[in-house]
């Protein structure tokens, strides 16, 4: 599983104990982040599906993301659900911006009935 670097964003991948963990750090502030995030997340989900891994997207060290970063994440959640890849999104609940952004995402997961996917504040 590859890492991704683009502008001020770094996503580090790590596979251990049946879980592929993507640690998001820095800032996602590009004009069209879907251009690089969509293909990257698609390949990660395919790989996780092929190896029966759970997928954990960890945003607790993320400093900033613009609103254009959100659709690729929603799209990834839908793709995980469709491929039967379970997992979690982790955010830092002491950061107000993360709490607001990811609480809303938690609603999407619940309303869309995405199975085996949790959105958790830590």
């Amino acid at each position: 599983m590859n890492d991704l670097t683009n502008g001020e964003l770094l996503i580090k991948s790590q596979v251990a104990d049946g879980v592929a963990r993507l640690l998001w750090t820095g800032k996602s502030a590009e004009a069209n982040p879907g251009d690089f995030l969509n293909p990257y997340l698609e390949s990660v989900i395919q790989e996780a599906s092929g190896q029966s891994l759970k997928l954990e997207l960890d945003f607790t060290e993320m400093e900033y993301m613009n609103s254009s970063t959100v659709p690729p994440l929603i799209r990834a959640l839908a793709a995980m659900n469709k491929s039967g890849v379970g997992g979690a999104i982790l955010y830092k609940k002491s950061l107000k911006w993360q709490e607001a952004s990811f609480k809303a995402m938690e609603n999407v997961v619940r309303i869309q009935k995405f199975k085996e996917i949790a959105v958790r504040g830590v």
Binding site: E30, A104, V108, Q112
Partner: protein, 158 residues
């Protein structure tokens, strides 16, 4: 935050300048001690500038995007001004600001938009920026327009 703060820029419509403005706000002593306010302020400034650069019309007589940030009398005000070409180009902007002004809970607008994206993930543009400003940033929004220049103002009491 005892002193007033005022930051003004007239910037070329280039994406890189948004990062410069974000860094400038983040470095200011008068806001950097309040992490939540700083995050909200830089987010609002970034989202408004991104909209102006992505959707603005960079006319020969108004080529730049004007940015103003003022922190006066316990109110933070961020104003972004850019040219537009034809009323149709700002219809969505006006409609979304009106939705925010009349919404009981801007968080519902943000969540509804996320659901739309989940149901139609191939569509382009997030359409989330203004709703995020109101929901996550807790800023109110106003729009003014003249012949060909639109001004969006975001305000929040602190």
């Amino acid at each position: 935050m005892s002193e007033d703060l005022s930051i003004q820029f007239k910037i070329p419509p280039l994406w890189e300048t948004i990062n410069d403005i974000r860094r400038k706000i983040a470095a200011d002593d008068r806001v950097k001690d309040n992490q939540d306010l700083l995050n909200a302020t830089t987010m609002v400034a970034s989202e408004l500038l991104e909209n102006a650069i992505k959707y603005g019309h960079h006319a020969p007589d108004f080529a730049a995007v004007e940015f103003n940030l003022d922190l006066v009398d316990r109110e933070i005000r961020i104003q972004v001004k850019n040219a537009y070409h034809g009323d149709h180009s700002i219809e969505g902007l006006k409609r979304n600001i009106e939705k925010i002004r009349t919404a009981a809970n801007p968080g519902d607008l943000y969540c509804d938009r996320l659901i739309e994206i989940a149901n139609n993930p191939r569509q382009t543009g997030s359409g989330l920026g203004l709703f995020r400003i109101a929901y996550e940033g807790e800023f109110g929004l106003e729009l003014e327009q003249d012949d060909h220049v639109v001004t969006v103002t975001a305000r929040r009491r602190i």
